[in-house]
């Protein structure tokens, strides 16, 4: 009766559609795609998967072999236009470094320098412990999935129900605030042309030339999501660094950009 969700294989989804056909110019190990490219939780996870697939012990890691496979995978992700986190590239660089070291003639390694291959193996081992732990945790009975709390209706209670500390205006404010939250959930393609910090700086400067102060949220466009926040933040920091604006935070956590008077109409 346990609705265990963990054993379900996921079909890779590309732009919301199940991915069925493969690019023909690339060799993909069988099962690779079913094994949910998208659901690797990070480069360590991908690397562990590759090592497991070869059925080798982490300790016997063959870096050259793994590096090639790893790079194939991230190329595949690239072709499939997965948003590739920088960490995947960092890992590729680490692997490449280890591989190139191994190809160089052995020189006396400096004592205090840690062998990057050993460092990687240690990290992988440590990661694997927690990965296994998380898999164990995922199948533990969980409320609302594997078991439910019993509840009943209360009888009429003669009691002084304390006055609500909230009123209908709070409802409006809260709902409004929810609607105004930038959409942090939607995925996006990184497109550096689309949002430029430089451009955002110009826009903010132009706004500040008309009014003295502006709240940070007013420098956001909801449609730009997370990226928009980043760009606006970078722009604000840049402006603050150059002494054009002062960043003020009030009790409501909202950040304001206050012109320091050096904003001209350029």
């Amino acid at each position: 009766m346990i609705n265990s969700t963990q054993t379900q294989l996921e079909i890779p989804m590309v732009m919301g559609q199940p991915y069925e056909t493969l690019p023909d110019d690339l060799f993909i190990p069988p099962n690779a795609l079913e094994l949910c490219l998208e659901s690797f939780s990070g480069p360590m996870d991908l690397l562990l998967y590759l090592i497991k697939k070869e059925n080798i012990n982490i300790l016997d890691l063959d870096v050259s072999e793994i590096t090639e496979q790893y790079i194939q995978y991230i190329e595949l992700m690239d072709i499939l236009k997965f948003e590739l986190a920088a960490e995947y590239l960092v890992m590729a660089a680490t692997l490449a470094e280890i591989k190139s070291r191994m190809m160089l003639p052995v020189v006396e390694a400096e004592e205090d320098e840690e062998d990057p291959k050993l460092a990687l193996i240690k990290r992988l081992q440590e990661y694997q412990r927690y990965k296994t732990a998380s898999e164990n945790l995922a199948i533990l009975p969980r409320v609302d999935r594997d078991f439910f709390i019993a509840s009943t209706a209360l009888p009429k209670i003669e009691s002084v129900i304390p006055d609500l500390e909230i009123n209908k205006d709070d409802l409006r404010d809260i709902f409004h605030e929810i609607l105004s939250r930038p959409d942090l959930k939607s995925s996006h393609q990184i497109d550096f042309e689309e949002l430029s910090t430089q451009e955002r700086i110009q826009i903010i400067l132009r706004i500040l030339s008309k009014r003295n102060i502006i709240s940070f949220s007013k420098t956001l466009r909801k449609s730009e999501g997370k990226q928009g926040i980043v760009v606006s933040l970078l722009a604000s920091l840049e402006l603050a660094k150059d002494g054009h604006v002062e960043l003020i935070q009030n009790e409501s956590n909202e950040i304001f950009l206050k012109s320091k008077g050096r904003v001209g109409n350029e």
Binding site: V143, D144, F148, I149, A150, S151, T152, A153, L154, P155, K156, I157, E158, S159, V160, I161, P162, L164, E165, I166, N167, K168, D169, D170, L171, R172, I174, F175, H176, I178, L179, S180, R181, D183, L184, K185, I203, R206, I207, K210, S217, K218, T219, L220, R221, K222, S223
Partner: protein, 186 residues
């Protein structure tokens, strides 16, 4: 005749729902679970549950929207201690959920999750049902037939409103105005 399994399944549904269930609803929930019973048999099971709770703190009650399990009236004084001791503080998460239901009703739990962008636990929905601020108004005609929630008369009373149109008007959504704002200066 309904078996003990059927009776227990019905009991589990009543304890799990957090709201009254109609006989017909119970029937279709049982069907989803491979148990086929007609309404009279379900009623018999409900009578069996009634007997089961005779010497306990619970009773089964028929209200306008169906059957529900509730704590017997005689225990209300000890519960009032429990409720008065802790002022019913309303968490931020609960406030967000009720405000979404108020402004966008009828909504499903999934709708609320989409808007809030985080998981909405059954406990929040239950807390609102228990407070009698929301009720199920129907089911959306999509797979899974998720329940649609609307606010209740009690909700209006507690917030001093005559009807739902007394809800304060929303300001123009921020993004529109700021979109205009940004484009205006560009």
């Amino acid at each position: 005749m309904s078996s003990n399994l059927t009776t227990n399944t019905i009991e589990a549904l009543l304890f799990g729902a957090g709201r009254p269930l109609r006989l017909s609803e119970i029937r279709s929930l049982l069907e989803n679970n491979g148990i086929y019973e007609d309404l009279p048999s379900i009623k018999i099971s409900i009578n069996a549950i009634e007997e089961r709770y005779e010497n306990t703190s619970l009773e089964i009650k028929e209200v306008s929207s169906g059957y529900r399990l509730q704590i017997k009236e005689s225990f209300s004084s000890c519960l009032s201690n429990l409720w008065n001791e802790k002022t019913p503080r309303i968490s931020k998460a609960l406030m967000e959920t009720i405000s979404i239901i108020a402004y966008k009703q009828p909504v499903t739990r999934g709708d609320i999750e989409d808007i809030r962008g985080v998981h909405v636990g059954t406990s929040s929905i239950r807390a609102l049902l228990e407070r009698d601020w929301i009720k199920v108004s129907g089911f959306r005609d999509v797979p899974g037939r998720p329940a649609l929630y609307v606010t209740t008369r009690q909700f209006l009373d507690d917030f001093n409103m005559k009807n739902i149109s007394s809800l304060p008007e929303l300001p123009e959504p921020i993004d529109h105005s700021s979109e205009a704002f940004l484009s205006e200066v560009i």
